[in-house]
């Protein structure tokens, strides 16, 4: 298993250089339920106007961390602030300036699209028209369905409605808990495009997702697993700091390929990555030709052994 890597704060983040300040500050936060340590000594900051991703599978602690920031749970240890307000003492102030989209979207299934939006507007002491500009691009896509019950919407539409409801009061920080889980690939892409546009309007966005490929759409990400942060940086830096030499290998018989590679004593790791296998050699000292020769001897046809740039998923798996 890889050794523990120290958490690196991104010193070269362009937003930091602009000196815009912190929107979210998390210092040594820990939280456990019964015997399970949900969140273990986590510290990092999110700058104003950043699009920050929490990337990790179920059980990583993403939801727990977000609930603590949303003042819905109290941490066992540590301190956290949202726009300078403490999450325990100033919870009332925080609840006025943050927009929240929890898992499963939390819409009222038996109210219509319109009714849901109006309800959240009044709860935040505003009206739909007051901040309509902010949600217009999003809401326009579901407006034709405004009289439909929320329970009857497709996953993608529920997503858009929930986002609109979270934005209706022009929050300064937006916290989204797995907004793209269980939604089709097209809606996912559209959703991220909407987030990017919102970011341009100056809103700080904290998003969590289990989909590693979405990490590249963020300014910075924290890779999380089992309550701990594996690493934090811009996606690009994370990839740059990946220390292994990675090969992409394919042949006409993918399944046999992976079995053969695993039986090869010079292979360190070999994992399926769609069309190709991502393979590392022991001590990174193995040449491409060595793999080629071994596999040709095993009678693989259509063989390709290429140098490969790692992606976030490779980085994550290396850190696990």
């Amino acid at each position: 298993m890889p050794t523990e890597k120290p958490i690196q704060y991104s010193k070269s983040s362009p937003l930091l250089m602009r000196g815009m300040g912190e929107a979210i500050s998390i210092q040594h936060i820990s939280k456990s339920y019964k015997d399970v340590q949900a969140v273990c000594d986590i510290s990092f900051e999110v700058q104003k106007g950043e699009l920050f991703g929490l990337i990790g599978p179920d059980g990583a602690g993403k939801t727990t961390l977000m609930r603590i920031l949303m003042t819905l749970l109290i941490q066992d240890q540590g301190k956290a602030t949202m726009n300078g307000f403490d999450v325990i003492k100033d919870y009332k102030k925080i609840r006025n300036i943050v927009g929240y989209m929890p898992g499963r979207f939390s819409l009222y299934q038996d109210l219509t699209v319109e009714e849901n939006l109006n309800f959240f507007a009044t709860v935040f002491k505003t009206t739909v028209s007051e901040n309509y500009e902010l949600i217009r691009d999003i809401y326009i896509q579901i407006e034709p369905f405004k009289k439909r019950l929320a329970g009857k919407l497709s996953g993608g539409m529920k997503q858009k409605l929930a986002l609109s409801c979270a934005l209706i009061h022009k929050p300064e920080i937006l916290v989204l808990d797995e907004p793209t889980t269980g939604v089709d690939a097209v809606s996912r892409k559209e959703f991220w495009e909407m987030l990017k546009k919102l970011q341009q309007k100056g809103i700080t966005i904290l998003v969590s997702t289990p989909y590693m490929d979405e990490a590249t759409l963020c300014n910075r990400v924290a890779l999380m697993q089992k309550g701990k942060v594996l690493n934090i940086d811009t996606p690009r830096k994370l990839v740059e700091n990946y220390s292994r030499k990675l090969y992409a290998i394919k042949s006409k018989e993918m399944h046999r390929l992976i079995l053969d590679l695993r039986s090869y004593d010079k292979t360190d790791t070999a994992y399926a990555f769609g069309e190709y296998l991502h393979v590392t050699g022991k001590n990174d000292e193995v040449e491409a030709s060595e793999f080629e020769n071994f596999l040709l001897k095993k009678k693989h046809t259509g063989l390709q052994v290429l140098d490969n740039e790692p992606g976030i998923e490779d980085v994550f798996m290396d850190l696990m």
Binding site: T71, L72, I74, R95, V98, Y100, S106, Q109, V123
Partner: protein, 369 residues
Amino acid sequence: MKQFLGFLRKEFLHIFRDPRTMIIIFGIPVVQLMLFGKVISTDIQNAKIAILDQSHDNTTREISSKLLSSGYFVLGQELLPGDNVEDVFRQGKVKMIVTFGPEFEHNLERDGKADVQLLADASDPNTARILTNYASGIINDYVKKEKLQNIQLPDQINVEVRMLYNEGLKSVYMFVPGIMAMILMLISAMMTSISISKEKEMGTMEVLLASPLKPIQIVLGKVTPYLLLSFINALTIILLGVFVFGVPIKGSFLLLMGEAFLFILMALSLGILISTVAPNQMVAMFISLLGLMLPTILLSGFIFPIQNMPLPLRIVSNILPPRWFIVIIRNIMLKGTGIQYIWKETMVLIFMAFTFIALSIKNFKIRLE
């Protein structure tokens, strides 16, 4: 067959590993049996009666003493001829008044007959019937025994039975107040408890909590619709009772509705309290049904007289809000009492409502945990 056995085995494993199922299967029947056994008793003991003795002669004293030593009756009050019978009943101190006419013994010896009047509070017709039957039995028993001893004229003691407030001993007079209490309790408490638990289950509670809405706004927002609806319910029940079943409203209608309002408020607060502890709708419904409906039917005096129950159950009965409400309604509707006679019960309801509201607010979590 093997499939079936395999499935059977699995089901047993599930049952034994779930503490809740075990409680339902073993705990509840035992509780129910104990409750039913103790509660459904048609025997009366130590019912409070009053005796108006206008003769004070040997015979009346003997009869009185026989009544009071029977184990069925205790003396609640000695009455004097000037006392207002209606007041005595309104105060609720006695369930039956035994009246001996003047010159009782004299009349008996001279004419061979005398009159005894049994006046019973029939707002609870079952109890009234039983009490008058017992009393009549004891009195007639006495006559027979005396007859054997004094071989004289055929003695006759006429026992005149009058049922007050409910001449026809209509059971519906007893039921309507009880049903009203039960329905209002159930609807109000169960509905509010489910409403909040539903939000928790659906996950929308999370969004509400994270918003600037104050807990008091959420709670009141949940309670108010049911307040209005339950009030309409109460009105409907009363109107049906009056116009379809002929139950009278002898007292103030305004007072009646006022007490109903108070009761509803109390039940709603109880519902909120339940919802602060129940994590989901199923549990909320469970608590409401088991904790509210069953005890209400069995222990609130709705059907089975409270005074028949053993002491522990009577204590439990005192904790049940419907028990007090039923007394209030019966008094207002059937006896026509005013607030001066039911202020104690009203205070109990106010106290309960206040306690539930305070506890709910204290318990209502502004966070998820």
